[in-house]
């Protein structure tokens, strides 16, 4: 079990906090279903890490809202934001619980899993190794969507998450790519990231 970290006030704009919470919670939903349906421990870990970040942001957001309210009118204007933030946090909590089924060794019945796998594009998580040709190239240059049918939905770089990365984002060694696509494309991405495949047609 992760021990909750001590929370200390930090000035962060309410807007930035909520934008990040919303983006992260949306990625978490995708990752959580994939984790549960593929019984994938690594994806679960990513979801739980994101959950901790969302929790932290929720605390920061609440503290900053409290400081911002000076009157009844302020409070009335701000209560909508805290309600939305609480709901966004709840969505990420629910996603984390779905992903946690994997840790608790609670499975999803294989027949249901199969049915889902046929319908859904798959999600994967691939680490960029030192020998990979993806290194030092921007997403715009690589055009993975057009070439191998893969959409990079997020990159984890150390502790930092880049959600919905832009075309200019350059991939570096050690990046964890979170990608979505058809099974064949995922295989290719895995080969490219691990350095097995040296060419991108």
């Amino acid at each position: 079990m992760v021990k909750p970290k001590k929370i200390e006030y930090r000035p962060i704009t309410v807007r930035d906090a909520l934008t990040e919470m919303k983006d992260l919670s949306e990625v978490m939903i995708d990752l959580a279903y994939s984790a549960a349906l593929m019984h994938n421990h690594e994806l679960t870990e990513e979801v739980l890490e994101l959950e901790e970040r969302v929790d932290y942001l929720a605390y920061m957001l609440n503290m900053n809202i409290m400081l911002a309210a000076r009157s009844a009118e302020d409070a009335e204007a701000l209560v909508g934001i805290s309600t939305v933030a609480a709901a966004t946090n709840e969505i990420s909590d629910a996603a984390a619980d779905i992903a946690s089924l994997v840790i608790q060794e609670i499975g999803i019945h294989p027949i249901v899993r199969e049915a889902f796998e046929k319908m859904e594009e798959k999600l994967t998580r691939e680490e960029v190794k030192s020998t990979s040709i993806l290194r030092k190239k921007s997403l715009g240059e690589l055009e993975l969507a057009a070439r191998i049918g893969i959409d990079i939905i997020a990159i984890r770089r150390g502790k930092r998450w880049i959600i919905d990365p832009s075309e200019d984002e350059t991939i570096i060694e050690g990046d964890m790519l979170i990608a979505r696509g058809a099974p064949l494309g995922i295989e290719k991405l895995r080969a490219l990231a691990s350095g097995m495949m040296k060419e991108l047609e």
Partner: protein, 193 residues
């Protein structure tokens, strides 16, 4: 055994509907804030009622599927999954409730949603539009306009877009994307190009 397989397929179908509906609700809930639209917010509330009903049906299906004791953890997983989806739908309904309570969505909320999703618009597909009677895949709306279809309203129903879904005249498309795409999509939906 045969009947078990059949009921499992039904369970998978129900689960897919639940999952789709909850995701649609989340998209619509944030959109209702951005557009300050009671209509969209009310739609989210109606979908929430539908999810509650579907979720109960789903649980009954799982419980009456006649699983064996050794399969019980696999079925527990299904129940938990359904529960998670239901919670997400609840949360979406709470977001929409902010609009229904007449709390003027704070400018910060709009900024957040605009930033995350650029802009959200709705357009009606005219009978003369080249989109009518085409599947979403054929219509290539993102390629042509840079706008993504979040949801389609057909008569009283909201549909979550799928590539093979056929667009009909009079459908209302809810789309998000960069502001520049807005005009292109409006043109595409209004007449033949």
């Amino acid at each position: 055994m045969q009947s078990n397989k059949e009921s499992l397929r039904k369970i998978a179908d129900e689960l897919a509907i639940l999952k789709d509906t909850s995701e649609l609700m989340i998209d619509l809930a944030y959109s209702s804030l951005l557009l300050n639209s009671r209509e969209l917010a009310e739609e989210v509330q109606m979908l929430e009622e539908r999810v509650d009903k579907l979720h109960s049906e789903f649980e009954l299906l799982v419980m009456s599927s006649g699983f064996k004791p050794e399969e019980s953890t696999d079925f527990l997983g299904l129940m938990r999954l359904g529960e998670g989806i239901e919670r997400m739908a609840d949360a979406a309904a709470r977001i929409a409730e902010v609009v229904l309570r007449g709390l003027e969505p704070h400018s910060v909320l709009r900024l957040v949603i605009e930033e995350a999703k650029e802009t959200v618009i709705r357009v009606r597909v005219s009978r003369r539009s080249s989109l009518a009677e085409r599947t979403l895949r054929e219509a290539q709306i993102p390629e042509q306009t840079g706008m993504w279809i979040l949801a389609i309203r057909r008569d009283e129903k909201w549909l979550r877009p799928k590539p093979e879904m056929v667009i009909k005249a009079k459908d209302v498309l809810i789309a998000s994307g960069y502001a520049e795409g807005e005009e292109d999509l409006k043109k595409l939906a209004s007449r033949q190009t």
